[in-house]
Amino acid sequence: MNEQEKKKYLDEYKKEKEKGVPFFPDIIFKDTIAALLIFIILAALAYFVGAPLEARANPADTTYTPRPEWYFLFLFQALKYFPGKLEVIGAMVLPGLFILLLILLPFIDRSPKRHFLNRPFASISAFVVVAGILFLTIASVREAPPPQEAIVVDNAAALYAANCANCHGPGIDVPPGTDLHQIIAAGTHEGMPAWGGDLSTDEIDALAGFILSPKGSALFTQYCSVCHQQPVIASGNPVELQRVFDEGVNYPPHKDVQTANWNETVTEAEINGLLNFLAAPDGQRLFVINCSGCHGQGVGYNGTEEELTELIKKGGQHLDMPAWKGTLSEKDMDALSSYVVDPGQNPGGGTLFGQHCASCHGDKVPKAPDKQSALKIISSGGAHITMPVWGDILTAEQLDALVKYTFEASKGGGPAVGANLFAENCSDCHGKSGQGGPNPALSGDTIAPISSSEYLKTRNDATIRNIISFGQPDFGMSPFGAENGGPLDDDQLDAIVAFIRNWESNPPAEAPSASADVQVPTPTVAQPSLTGAQLFGIACASCHGSSGEGGVGPAFNIKEFQSGRDDQALFATISNGHTATPMVAWGDNLSFSQIELLVGFIRTLDPDYAASLIYSGRVSAIFEENCQACHNPQKIRGGWDSTSYQSSMTSGDNAPVIIPGNAADSLLAQSILGLGSQMPPIGSLSPSDIQVILDWIAAGAPEN
């Protein structure tokens, strides 16, 4: 454009302006209408579509297909045409040149022509560019549709579709009271495989919940899955679940996260659906979760089903315990009360407990703080522990299932039968909780644990059933199935298999420490790593006192603390911490074996600990439990007989195995520490037991 052209343009523009309209209000009016229209469109989008939000960013999830925002899609697509080293052209060079071209446009196109028909090259080029961008964007969307639906997936439904739908179709109609968890895990019925080996307990729970309440599963996906991932569902405990709905935003674990007020936004029917999904109306699971804490594996019950329903529903006022005073002799009551205070040290009470208490208490021995209070409760009876009012907590379906299961089980079905059969037929060789031991039929052979999750995961029920039925002649196990000449019929075999399978989801309390590399405490011998005492000093002393006398945290050197929980509970507390207190979850920082060491050390803080270091105290109990199967007068391995104090101290091929006051040189101490030949051969004693033996020897190995 030369000066003349410029002047001409300015003159013409001036004329146009004079013919035109004032900016206010004419133009402003049009602009306002356009702005208003756009605002309405945007507000409508915000209302009807909303701003999307996917799951929280997970840097570990490499399966996610990344997609840029839609207005970058054309660039993203363009990159696909520049593979390998050429990528830089598509990513950098072309966009860079294009932007440069845009900026320099007024200097490149300097012709005075303005109407788009008068400058066809520019008009067509721009059209081609716009069309190209549109084409690339559309191509990108079509090639890989944005994974919008993947945002919320009903994982339980997916699990069902993958594993069950082939045979069962879209859904299964299950009669109330069915042990669904058991059926899925064990696959007992016709032609259905046992899923217990392939699916985790959580997954089976989710499946059972989905089958019984598909609606609940969908609701869970809708309301809860933003925070709680299926199938690792939030909680299977109906008491907690009911609290979520009762307390709404005040429910403590939900307090710090922003959740909806569940008690207001969800309808009654929806709550029932959700509860039925999360804690499937599956009698056995409900019993394990809700009842076994007090009742062990089952209760004996003689009334009708209706009465049982009422009992469970009303809770609180259920069967009062009879006043045993008068029924039992003073001596028996005395033995029983010692037994409930510490079953380990008073094994004599076990028989009495089995006779009089187990029909209601199952195999769960109630904990009493001291003998005096135990004696009082036993002699006076009454409602000593209040059962929750389950009618308020469980949904109708759950209650129904729980009653049916409890009722059936009390008549002799369920795991209780299996447990008894196992105790009669299997535990001599496999141990009470399937922990294994030296093979009595084959010298030098060791029977591996059969209750470990590794073992159970890798064998389905049919395999286990076959092993029991046919035996393992090569290893000295005789056939147990009736068809192979053994004592057990088909139902009994199934009961034992179900009992063994039950360990997978509920590992036995005294789980065998399968790993041989567990660090064991070595107070007087070599010290490969930190001892329990050192760990205690580092981790616990600042709150619980350097000798467990208490401080911010509770004291350990008192009877109430020590008798109030078993090793398992202590381990769990150390590992998981306490949400309500400053107690840290040490499981994050300490290893499994280190926590075991701590449990062992904390046990030594018991005020009665020193007094218990006598043969007639805890030592004989440990021997009886762990050594006497092989070291007894009949089967006298290594010449050592551990059945009495006298024989323990004097017998043995390398007698004496116990040198009073000198743990380091005692063969017994070396063996249980795994320094010589590992004893017991199936795996170490628990750290607290090892500690007891070592300290007992160091204290001179007294008898009384």
């Binding site: 206010f24 507000a43 960013a57 840029p68 925002e69 990528e87 950098m92 005075p112």
Partner: protein, 219 residues
């Protein structure tokens, strides 16, 4: 009374002069396409307002970003509206800016004497794209995390300086808390300041030179 106040203010601000120059100026007869520019300005202002409201609740750390966005969307009164407007407004800004650019292009409005207006406009488009790119990471969900991972990777392709750019953008090797802080800082401080300055220049030029008349067939 109002007149008196107006007079008093005019003596001090000469606002009537500004009013005359900005609002009473004559403008050629134009069509509806000419509202695209002001519509873009409107959406930009709306983005500013909703953006400021969002920063009152948004927390730019990996621990809390996602939770704060969930809170804004589900708990905060009208939070869904504010976030929804901001989210869709982002797309609208890009669309309107590009449409405005096309209008200017096809009406030959980038030619003398409006070259400088055009250049500031192109830079404004880049700023808008920068807003989109940095804002995308802030909700800290799967989509934003992985899109930013790929986006910064592409920036890293540049010859010689690519690795350097990548590390500056991410504040390290990987997307981390530093990346989020950088993107947030850029999104709410650097880019808005740049945008405000450029819009100021752009509008000054529009008002000083005036908008183009619709070109005639023979032009």
């Amino acid at each position: 009374m109002l007149v008196k106040i107006g007079d008093w203010l005019d003596e001090r601000f000469s606002w009537r002069e500004v009013w005359e120059a900005v609002f009473m100026r004559k403008v050629p007869h134009v069509n509806w396409f000419y509202t695209l520019g002001s519509a873009t300005l409107f959406v930009a202002i709306m983005q500013g307002v909703t953006g400021i409201l969002l920063t009152l609740y948004y927390v730019p750390t990996p621990d809390h970003a996602y939770d704060s966005v969930v809170y804004i969307t589900t708990q905060l009164p009208f939070g869904w509206l504010i976030r929804g407007l901001h989210h869709w407004g982002a797309s609208a800004t890009v669309v309107l800016t590009v449409l405005h650019l096309l209008r200017v292009f096809y009406f030959g409005a980038y030619k003398y004497p409006r070259e400088a207006t055009w250049i500031t406009g192109v830079i404004l488009l880049l700023v808008v794209i920068g807003f989109g790119f940095t804002g995308y990471l802030l909700p800290w969900d799967q989509k934003s995390f992985w899109a930013t991972t790929v986006g910064t990777q592409i920036a890293g392709l540049a010859p010689f300086v690519g690795d350097w750019i990548l590390r500056i953008a991410r504040g390290g090797r990987d997307i981390s808390a530093v990346t989020l802080a950088r993107f947030f800082g850029t999104h709410v401080w650097i880019l808005p300041a740049t945008l405000a300055a450029l819009i100021g220049i752009h509008l000054y030029l529009v008002i000083r030179i005036g908008i183009t008349a619709v070109p005639k067939k023979d032009e």
